[in-house]
Symmetry: C2
Subunit: 403 residues, 2 copies
């Protein structure tokens, strides 16, 4: 049995970013950039007005005194998308719209709300600073500057940056294909009526949803009966068709022998067979020809927890994302929490913000079959290995789930 | 100008959940349930073994003394998916796999790792408690119990709950269609080369990405030229084809007159025209025949911020989700932050966890055209209206962005 940290280190080491492909930027949302993006332009590409107002020479307002407005002659109107070919001279102003280029000779824009206009004359009753309301050419980014680095997560902001720089296609890493095999002779499809001793195959659906949440497509190879040869041929098929193979169930003591035998027969490199995490101890991880194999526990809560903690980081690494070292934050316990000592306990809780602080409340039984508890939870708190008890008011690391 | 809270209250009041439709559970991921879900079964449907081991009568181990193992006769093997029709008697044990039904007469399961077996005899060297490793019939949920309430967000967990209860289809609210109009004669498509005075239409792409992030589809009606009649006919088209219409740009002082005229001519009920938020003040909101109309500011940072703060909650309400009252948490300032007093300032920052606490670091210029700053940020901190300065070490409310 190894620690959660050691398991994550091994998984990270074995997960490599997949080949690159070029795609439309909107198809790359929530993936990671596979190339550095340099600016092809200055942004803004000209001195730009930040406001609807009047372009002026700021020095024309230097002589303003209380009660005596400065008068300027309005000589042109510059709409957004247009420009003036005149040069502004002392004593002149040009009406200008937000986003339009500030004309030659002008160095400031005074907002429309702050002036008075009568016919072609502008009245200003304040001193205006040089540069006021002017966004300078290249202020945001200059030609040749790096805009976004390889590995950057492409969020709506980055889509905006790429669009503003004229990138309609970019390079990202190909999506990993994740194959799901569920094992267990007790399982029937959710549309069937279980006979005595049988239960519905809910894990296939939660795992599909987890994969869908990562923006990936799942390849479901169905329920595999508990026979070694059947499992072996299904595992081989899965490895051919995918980058990551997940089996759910078949990972408890008696059963894992089965998976282990299959893995040995196909010369897999088994990296670990259990992790000090609760729920989820019987998770195993193997590598076969650069493909990753995870055998997840069959209990619903354990399957979801180990997917989120171990499979998700592997998918993200294959997508070229940097594995976040720490995404937890402090949570104050609103109640006493008691757990068995030993493994790191991932306790499903309700995290609520109250008076600017985050508190953890119990969500129900932490038994690893209790999906109902998890459906009442929005987060987890982590009780470290070796610690079994924390009192209300004490602090543990926590995080929100499915975020 | 109204406060952020008042704006959200008005939007919430005007946003109603859309009609219901029945869909496959996996198509409902990240939507909200439009019906209460009751359990059709007991879960588990029988007393179930939580471990691979041996089903026994616990009282048979009461006589265990140090050094003298209890011996039981192994009379059957119960695999997962099967059951034994024999009744267990004193002095007997049955081998049982995880998930299999505990046989009649047995009240405990001892794990395989804790026993010794020689031929058909089981040797136990400890006292086993009644109920040990047995998950009782209906322990998770009973027939007729409510499993998930209307309005519940359907996450992978809820997909698992629904699958385990045999629900393959459920009712959710129809997705709102969100139409995007971008206005501004300075805009060109991202594949064109801007002439002097022009910039690329990046907002259409960031807005599409924001809508895509909500799992919705955007209806893009393109760049609308700054002419009232053109805008009016496009707005009418958008209102016919969608539930929410967004315009981006055209919302500064001079321009909004334009949008306002169009809204008045089509008898829209204009609810507000500016909000005390920075970036994003010139956001307006109107209602036309139960359809929602948002005029977002044209500056990239303002457009994204106002979408996330105001349009997203409206979409979520239409999807039947409960608008979260508060999703912020305390963040410690790692540096001094200085802003103009007045509006609520949403400052884009890097939030980092250090020693179990969350700290906010500056990400760059907060000028509302600076998408590059936002692309360095993973969160915001909110400097309340009327406050302009907070020192390093002080605490503000913050949240992660795009989560």
């Amino acid at each position: 049995m190894i620690s959660v940290e050691e398991a994550l280190r091994i998984i990270s080491e074995e997960s490599k970013a997949l080949e690159c492909e070029e795609k439309d930027i909107l198809s790359c949302l929530n993936k990671a950039l596979a190339e550095d993006i340099y600016s092809r332009d200055n942004l803004p590409p000209f001195d730009k007005s930040a406001m609807d107002g009047y372009a002026i020479k700021s020095e024309d307002t230097d002589l303003y005194e209380d009660g005596v407005s400065i008068e300027l002659e309005i000589v042109d109107l510059i709409k957004a998308g247009e420009f003036s070919d005149k040069e502004l001279k002392n004593g002149q102003a040009m009406k200008i719209m937000t986003g339009a280029p500030v004309p030659k000779g002008a160095n400031a824009v005074i907002q429309i709300e702050k002036v008075e206009v009568r016919e072609d004359t502008l009245y200003i009753s304040e001193k205006v600073k040089n540069g006021c309301n002017v966004i300078k050419l290249g202020e945001e980014i200059k030609v040749g500057d790096i805009a976004l680095r390889k590995g950057t997560l492409i969020r709506p902001t980055e889509i905006g940056v790429l669009a503003s720089l004229g990138y309609s296609k970019i390079k990202v890493h190909r999506d990993p294909v994740v194959a799901i095999l569920t094992t267990g002779d007790e399982l029937v499809d959710i549309n069937e009526t279980p006979k005595f001793g049988q239960i519905r195959n809910s894990n296939e659906y939660s795992l599909k949803a987890l994969i869908q949440n990562l923006g990936l497509e799942a390849l479901c190879l169905g329920i595999v009966e508990d026979k070694k040869d059947t499992l072996k041929s299904k595992v081989k098929e899965a490895l051919e068709k995918s980058d990551i193979v997940i089996t759910s169930g078949g990972a408890s003591v008696g059963d894992f022998d089965f998976v282990e035998q299959v893995l040995n027969e196909i010369n897999a490199d088994i990296k670990f067979q259990s992790v000090a995490i609760k729920p989820g101890k019987p998770i195993s991880f193997a590598v076969i020809d650069k493909k990753l194999f995870f055998s997840l526990p069959g209990n619903p809560l354990s399957a979801i927890t180990t997917f989120e903690e171990f499979v998700k980081p592997a998918c993200e690494k294959m997508l070229g994302k940097n594995m976040e070292s720490d995404n937890t934050f402090p949570v104050i316990l609103a109640e006493d929490f008691k757990e068995k000592e030993g493994r790191s306990k991932y306790i499903y809780v309700k995290i609520k913000a109250e008076n600017g602080k985050l508190y953890a409340y119990k969500a129900g039984s932490q038994s690893s079959n209790q999906l109902i508890t998890m459906s009442k939870a929005n987060g987890i708190i982590i009780m470290p290995a070796g610690i079994g008890y924390k009192k209300a008011g004490e602090v543990l690391s926590g995080k929100f789930i499915f975020k």
